[in-house]
């Protein structure tokens, strides 16, 4: 590729595979896969962020710096129905004040009703961006996202029962590496088929009746494993089946927002903002489906999620299902988290025999 643009979106679950595709095939610029989040990422992010901002912002800031260090020159941020909408503007200003040179694609600036506004903003990434090319790459990008979400759902349901430790991880990692190299729909289809089969071939020892636990929470914290202390992994170690609805497929691609309002009508008449209504609806859905417990993970100070806490307590009472709340900021001690999860598991086990 001839472009000298290196675009990068902050680390967020495994979606960089999808971002890579749309940027390379649609916008025709290079895509820099963000370095994996480490303690250093969070340290840098916390240092240059306002102290009271929610943790996802701190993660994004850390990722931006590490991406810039790795040679990225075009950063971006999405829009949202909470403070997230201001993330882009604030992040850009902080980085500019620090003296970094880069282009910033801020989706909050786009008026999606105006094709002109869309094109103008796209030109931040590539002045010669072709809407046709982007339009052609988009369906494959969406398919990549759906594939990721489908695969990860399957893994969540089964990884706790694998016979050989780490096998799901190994196969999925291999899949992600290959997914990051595909060029077209055909290759995606082939890869999808091959690895869907491979995942199903992993030997598991899953009893008919399993302990199911549902994860709900704010958009970033529940999706990015580093920001929730790899909670899904910890839960799987107890041999639990994990459910999570919050992902790109269920929000942006096939938004379940209206359905969420309906599901949670009895508990919340109004729009709670951001992921609030999703959280309520998902909790109800899990409770109805016979989950043994619900865990809410949220970043410290996330207003919409705080508003759902008393609502979740009502769901807990009505459906007789325990709810555990976790607030994360930039602390790194795992002991407290593990203690609570262990006790949660003990409690669910004990309730079973009641």
């Amino acid at each position: 590729m001839e472009s000298d643009v290196y675009a990068c979106f902050p680390q967020w679950a495994n979606y960089s595979c999808a971002f890579r595709f749309i940027f390379e095939k649609g916008f025709e610029v290079n895509y820099l896969t963000p370095p994996p989040i480490t303690k250093r990422t969070l340290e840098i992010g916390s240092k240059i962020s306002p102290d009271y901002v929610c943790a996802p912002f701190k993660y994004c800031m850390g990722c931006y710096i590490e991406a810039l260090e790795a040679g990225a020159n075009c950063l971006m941020q999405i829009f949202g129905a909470c403070r997230l909408n201001y993330y882009g503007e604030l992040a850009e200003q902080i980085l500019r004040d620090m003296g970094y040179k880069f282009n910033f694609f801020n989706m909050a600036n786009i008026d999606f009703k105006s094709p002109k506004s869309i094109l103008e903003n796209f030109k931040v990434i590539n002045p010669n961006a072709s809407l046709v090319k982007i339009g052609m790459a988009l369906p494959v990008t969406i398919k990549i996202v759906k594939t990721l979400d489908k695969f990860e759902d399957f893994i969540r349901h089964n990884v706790g029962f694998e016979i050989n430790d780490g096998e799901f991880d190994k196969v999925y990692k291999e899949f992600l590496e290959k997914l990051n190299k595909i060029n077209n729909k055909k290759e995606l289809k082939r890869l999808n088929k091959e690895y869907w089969k491979k995942l199903h071939q992993i030997p598991i020892n899953k009893p008919d009746k399993t302990i199911k636990v549902g994860l709900v929470g704010d958009y970033y914290t529940v999706q990015e494993p580093f920001s929730n202390y790899f909670m899904e992994k910890e839960l799987a170690k107890f041999g639990m089946e994990i459910y999570r609805e919050m992902n790109l497929t269920n929000t942006i691609i096939h938004s379940k927002f209206k359905k969420s309002l309906k599901t949670g009508k009895k508990y919340a008449k109004h729009n709670l903002g951001a992921t609030g209504n999703y959280t309520v609806a998902e909790a109800i859905k899990f409770a109805k489906a016979g989950a043994s417990g619900i865990i809410q993970v949220k970043s410290f100070g996330c207003m919409p999620e705080i508003d759902t806490m008393p609502i979740l307590q009502n769901v807990s009472k009505d459906y007789n299902i325990p709810v555990l709340h976790f607030s994360f900021d930039s602390q790194t001690s795992e002991t407290g988290v593990k203690t609570r999860l262990e006790a949660f598991y003990d409690m669910i086990e004990a309730r079973k025999h009641k």
Binding site: T38, K39, S316, P322, F326, A343, D346, M347, K354
Partner: protein, 317 residues
Amino acid sequence: MKGYLGIDIGSISTKGVVIDKDNNILASEYLWTEGDPMGAVKKLLKVLEKQLDGKDIEIVAVGTTGSARKLIGVMTGAVTVKNEITAHAIGTTTLHPDVKTIFEIGGQDSKIIIIENGFVVDYAMNTLCAAGTGSFLSSQAHRLGVSVEQFGEIALTSKNPTNIAARCTVFAESDLVHKAQIGHKKEDIIAGLCKAVVTNYLNNIGKGKKISAPIVFQGGVSKNVGVKKAFEDAVGQEVIVDKNGHLMGAFGVAVLAKQSGKENKFSFDTAEINFKTTGFECPKCANHCEIICVFKGDKLIDSWGNKCDNGAVKIPK
């Protein structure tokens, strides 16, 4: 006779209990951890051994709980290493089978446990903040120049507790200083602090929880009669404080060790063996995991702290 040892190593205090097969407490001790869990446990073991002197007790299983449970579990060859929430619940339900609510306030954390028919059905634990815990009370006692042991008695003499902001330790502290400077009586301030701890507890940990009697209050702070009274005033119910309430975690994990059916004979000579830990930062990636290695004499017996396999330390068998 067979005995079972339970050790609860908290951030502030270390508790040890030896029970027999009928859950009778044969020996017990409560001492300060002082930032050295291994040293505290050695001291604890010496005291317990002395208490058992002359009785024919053989410790056949050890259980550990509390924030240093893993480390001390390795050191003592524990058969059960359990989180403190479960340990406390088991301990309390063993002694008070009809309990429905457990209030527990320790040095650094506080929790509420809801029990139905002897099983834990709900619990909550403070997450980000240490407001309203024992260490807050002891630092405020120090500021007021009274010992934390007298705190409760003094609080009971107050007829008109001062209102003190309960939301946050920092606010509470500046509120307290301010109230003292404008002339509130010391006992009123102390009673106000006890009230603030309770308000904070019920607003945070207890929020939305079904609190019903019988209520058992335990943890180090339960020894403070001022806080006990403030709880009774706030919930309008009698609050039971067991005379062994401060030992409940250790007692519970001893019961769990007994119930596990596993045995691993334990000798009090462990107190004489030289254990040490070393920590290092794993240089293999930017996560810089802090890896802890535990040595018995010169022999590496366990290690933890690595997030990935790159940081795994091989334990010689």
